[in-house]
């Protein structure tokens, strides 16, 4: 475990920029406590960052500013960001990993730009094509990690297995209670082995038979996400993105409907006042962490929601610190090698095997 852990922060990313990034660093330091030393490189406008640090002495003591006045806009196309982004706060935050100055990077910037730039600077690990994005989903039993939620629109069986390998390593490093081996489920429309389309069935076979270091549960369905049936749920980026956004939309709708109902009569309003602590507690339990890593890169990059507040940004930092302090990358590399060997054996002509 590196000591201190050094986190490189794109302080200008996100909808608000330095105010949220610095407040997020401060809150993360408070949550992590004195047991682990964490230091930060804050990339961005020196004056804006220094002004925020002046308001957060705890953060100030742990941060170093790396000035740049270049910023990648939230709506910049990835190809444009790749061409013109060099020297920006996002670019420099990622480059600090490659240059050995930081163990992980955190950004609330444009997802497409962050993915493209991270891929260019850090490269993908062991034959992977594109980073996968993992979402941490609050459930009846804690947190379920769902991936991919947006990077890979169509995923073949081998990619689904790669997601399983990466998601399990992520979950173990960030969410699992010590020693517990996370269970992994494959999202499908039925729980019988015969259902689902070809990629899903083939991924099921690979996960069951390939001798990966995984606690594979089998198929799960959409309702298993909130139920917390398994720790990690694997699906293609199209389905995962739809499921995630469907859930986000529903959560907002439920909260709005609840508020509206509670304001509908004086009696209900009085009840809401009495129950406000409980309602706040419920909201806290239903709020997912404000960030997630891009998995599969040779280096740890965590994306925070553009609209994240300080608490959400602190979640992202905490995830970066947990990942940087773990052996998750080695674990992924080992399992990817096993998968590659199994796929090679599958592809070999049967004559050669017998």
């Amino acid at each position: 475990m590196p000591d201190p852990v050094i986190i490189s922060v794109d302080a200008m990313g996100g909808d608000i920029g330095a105010a949220v990034s610095v407040a997020g660093v401060d809150l993360a330091l408070e949550r992590i406590g004195p047991s682990r030393e964490v230091r930060f490189l804050l990339h961005g406008d020196e004056r804006a960052i220094a002004a925020e640090l002046a308001r957060h002495p705890r953060a100030k003591a742990a941060c170093e500013i790396r000035h740049t006045d270049q910023v990648i806009a939230g709506d910049e196309k990835p190809a444009v960001a790749l061409r013109r982004g060099k020297g920006s706060s996002l670019w420099n935050a990622v480059e600090a990993i490659r240059d050995g100055q930081a163990h992980a990077a955190v950004s609330g910037g444009n997802t497409g730009a962050l993915m493209a730039i991270s891929k260019l600077i850090l490269r993908m690990a062991g034959g992977l094509e594109r980073p996968a994005i993992v979402a941490s989903w609050p459930t009846a039993r804690g947190i379920t990690s769902l991936l991919d939620v947006g990077a890979n629109l169509e995923s073949d069986a081998a990619q689904l297995v790669e997601f399983a390998i990466m998601g399990e390593a992520f979950h173990r490093a960030v969410h699992a209670r010590s020693g517990a081996r996370p269970s992994v489920g494959l999202l499908n429309v039925g729980s019988e082995d015969v259902k689902g389309h070809e990629e899903v069935r083939e991924a099921h076979r690979l996960l069951r038979d390939t001798g990966l270091e995984l606690n594979f549960f089998g198929f799960v369905e959409g309702n298993d996400i909130a139920r917390g049936t398994v720790d990690v749920i694997v699906t293609d980026g199209f389905t995962g993105n739809v499921a995630l956004k469907t859930g986000e939309g529903l959560a907002r709708f439920f909260a709005d409907t609840l508020l509206e109902s509670l304001r509908s009569s004086p009696l209900a309003m009085a009840g809401a006042v009495l129950a406000q602590g409980a309602i706040r507690d419920m909201r806290r339990r239903l709020t997912p962490p404000g960030g997630g890593p891009l998995l599969g890169l040779k280096g740890t990059v965590v994306k925070c929601h553009g609209g994240a507040d300080a608490a959400g940004f602190a979640d992202g930092i905490k995830i970066a610190v947990d990942l940087a302090s773990s052996g998750y990358a080695d674990q992924i590399a080992r399992n990817l090698e096993r998968l590659a060997a199994a796929l090679k054996a599958d592809a070999a002509p049967k004559e050669a095997v017998t």
Copy 2:
């Protein structure tokens, strides 16, 4: 509009059977009121049904029993149900449509069996392959119809357009305020025209350019479901099924978490007592209708949830009555012809066109 509308009911389907079916008929009659005459053929065990009808005089006056002692089990495989299901309550309920005795059928039985038997007895309309299942989803603006939610695992562009045609006709007949033309969105991972995989992009082109009688909105994302951005959302059966079940799981999780939070302290409990009317109202607004049609058949078949209570079964009956009283099948047929013509023109060699 047929007068009276005659609904054929598989009275033994669903987890509970005759008690729920008959109570559902009774409740549906109460909701529909005297403005429209509806009569029922109840297929199933005569003694069990008669015993329930004795408790519901309003239903008794509108029902005729068609006895059979055969029932298809809830876990029967579709292929087995097809081979051995003849003469069962489910089979007879569907057959009554083909024989001109009923305008629509309602069943809470096994989905796979209902689909296979309906397809065999009624056949598919205009070149369609398999029935699509539509879910009615409560949203911030009313109801959004989502399809397909489970029948068709992989859907090419033409099938997605067929879903749009069927879903729009369904929504217009069942959920739309009179005269309003429902808007139709195509589920994707981004709202820009360039995103998404090939089938979705091609379906977008067809919906935009084919001259269908549709109010096509364009792409929508998962969070647009609960937001009610459009009236009808179209996606493949894999994604739709995952989205639906994700939503169902979340709704249960939210309700459980709310209850748990409200029971966590005496103060919160007192608040919950005061607010109970509002909480009940919220639950009512968040509960989807207990049934949905199998679309694309030459005949109207509505599937109720196996676990539906009388209110859910009554929802299914109401949907069957609305569909049987509308011109939705003609509307679907007209738009399917337009689509077929457009696809044929697309496939024609360019020389022949110029």
